[in-house]
């Protein structure tokens, strides 16, 4: 084996971090660099996982070890494909691994998706998390919203829309967006799920959590039955607990959960005015809404210079000699954070086998990249400056106030911000 292999990982989300962790255990002397488009590491842990789920975000502490103790380099502010090409990385490193995730909202695949007033859940959750390359505030949603999709991301969106600002205590939510939204919040949400209440993909704990917000009335419509109703008892426990037997007072928000409802089109001339769904008996029904949010998963833009139109692979991380992929970029946008650890172990095994077998030429690694890359990159110490600035800026009932702008983050990382 090469005495000192040089490895480049593109993307610092769970996939990239778990891979670096696994590789480091077997290759104590290898040079490992994680390249990241943003000045902050951790990917969707920071910018996807809901801001009111701080326990889930605390996995960052584990990944921080890589940079603080395990001698893994963080090269932030480097968008691979534009600032440096994949060919440059491959020419200078023995192994390059794409751990770039999948950020594009998957399309539902129905007419009307391009209408005004149709938004992807990825966009909204990035805004809620102050992603520096996303819009700083939510789009106008109106009073009635239809959400297509019955997964956990869909419930993250529902929770964001029904909670009041005071209920985000301890979070690092984007308060600018939240306050603007809270001035005219949504009063009706229709969540459209094509499966039955039993088969809906969402996590019971996430369903139960919805019930903690006061002033919200949940009702369930099972479209497989003649009158759209099913007894509460027929629902899985978490859902049944959500559905009150006797609704009291006037609710602040009404949430209707539609099951066995397949979206056939989004209705509207220029702007969406509703969603048409098909019931199991073939009948069509219209659900009026002033805006529509799609939450049916994520995929890759085929014009992406790295992954492009290569589909997912459940079998191998191998793409070409010395080129691999892991995480969502490999498996498709499926699975929680821990699944990326499992995935990293399998891909690391492929990489270790390759390094052990091949007679590799010397490759300079990070030092061999153009000076422009070195000049531009922000390092881990820079991220710690951003981290400190964000914590210091947090109001009393928040854990941090994120810097909402990429240039500002880079300047903070470089200490060029005027204090």
């Amino acid at each position: 084996m090469q005495p000192n292999p040089t490895l480049a990982i593109v993307g610092s989300g769970p996939a990239g971090c778990y891979l670096a962790q696994t590789l480091r255990r077997s290759l104590p002397d290898a040079e490992i660099t994680i390249f990241e488009r943003l000045a902050s590491p951790f990917g969707l842990v920071r910018y996807g996982v809901a801001p009111d789920h701080q326990g889930t975000k605390s996995i960052q502490a584990q990944f921080a070890r890589l940079f603080e103790r395990d001698n893994v380099r963080f090269a932030g502010n480097i968008d691979v494909g534009s600032v440096v090409t994949l060919d440059d990385l491959r020419a200078t490193h023995h192994v390059v691994v794409l751990a770039t995730g999948l950020a594009r909202d998957r399309r539902v695949g129905v007419p009307g998706e391009n209408l005004l007033g149709v938004f992807g859940a990825g966009q909204l959750t990035r805004t809620a998390n102050s992603h520096p390359l996303e819009k700083p505030t939510l789009p106008p949603l109106g009073r009635t919203v239809a959400i297509i999709g019955g997964g956990n991301v869909s419930l993250d969106v529902v929770r964001f829309l029904i909670k009041t600002p005071g209920e985000f205590a301890g979070s690092d939510v984007n308060d600018v967006a939240l306050e603007e939204y809270a001035a005219a919040p949504v009063t009706h949400i229709d969540l459209i799920c094509r499966s039955s209440p039993e088969a809906a993909p969402f996590d019971p704990a996430m369903v139960a959590e919805l019930g903690k917000t006061p002033g919200v009335q949940f009702t369930s419509l099972d479209h497989s039955t003649a009158d759209g109703t099913t007894s509460v008892e027929a629902h899985p426990a978490a859902l049944a607990a959500l559905l009150p037997s006797t609704p009291g007072g006037t609710p602040r928000v009404r949430v209707r959960l539609h099951f066995n409802a397949t979206t056939t089109r989004i209705i509207g001339m220029d702007h969406a005015v509703g969603v048409e769904v098909r019931r199991p008996d073939g009948q069509l029904q219209t659900i009026p809404a002033q805006s529509v949010i799609t939450a049916v998963g994520f995929d890759c833009d085929p014009s992406d210079p790295l992954i492009g139109d290569r589909g997912a692979s459940q079998e191998t991380g191998y793409l070409a000699e010395g080129l691999y992929r892991t995480g969502w970029a490999k498996r498709g946008a499926r699975g929680t954070i821990p699944e990326n650890r499992h995935c990293a172990k399998a891909v690391a095994a492929e990489i270790l086998e390759y390094l052990a077998a091949a007679a590799l030429p010397a490759k300079p690694g990070y030092a061999g990249l153009p000076d422009a890359v070195h000049d531009r990159a922000t390092d881990y110490a820079g991220w710690l400056r951003v981290d400190a600035a964000e914590r210091a800026a947090a109001p009393g009932n928040r854990s941090r106030k994120k810097l909402p702008d990429h240039a500002w983050m880079v300047a903070t990382a470089r200490e060029t911000v005027q204090k």
Binding site: Y18, S58, A61, A205
Partner: protein, 154 residues
């Protein structure tokens, strides 16, 4: 005294705690760290102090990687009389009803089979952002001192 640290983890926090704990004990103790996914129940004997570090998933379940071990315990029901163990549970208080239940289940099963728990039940709450390694090291120091007290009372 030999110390065998066995971790059950899904997202890696338990492994980190196990490694940190092992590192803190390396001076003066014979320590090994193993993944519960790779440990068979026959391994559990009175020849070491077993330290279980285990998180919680699903609705109060053990992590996937620890399930085969746990299932084997409940199916083969080995006699663990004489076995000493300490246990540290990882969880998230966000899951109010099932906080730390994975390790509680594992600990209850070990005791049911005759093993003896030493020290307090350790707990880590992901929502606190407390470094899990430090929490495990602090907890285990207490376990050791309670064992010393027990063997040399007064």
């Amino acid at each position: 005294m030999k110390i065998s640290i066995l971790f059950g983890t899904e997202s890696g926090n338990g492994e980190l705690a196990a490694e940190d704990l092992a590192l803190s004990l390396a001076d003066g103790h014979d320590v090994e760290v193993r993944d519960l996914a790779e440990v068979t129940v026959e391994k559990i004997s009175d020849e070491a102090l077993f330290v279980f570090i285990c998180s919680t998933y699903g609705e109060g379940e053990l992590p996937n990687t620890a399930l085969p071990f746990y299932t084997a315990l409940s199916e083969t029901r080995p006699d663990l009389t004489g076995v000493k163990f300490a246990i540290f549970g990882l969880g998230d208080s966000f899951y109010t009803e099932t906080f730390g239940h994975g390790s509680l289940k594992l600990g209850a099963e070990l005791e049911e089979l005759g093993a003896h728990r030493v020290g307090e039940f350790g707990r880590h709450d992901a929502s606190t952002w407390e470094p899990v390694g430090e929490a495990a090291v602090t907890w285990f120091a207490e376990v050791l001192s309670s064992m010393r007290l027990a063997s040399h009372p007064g």
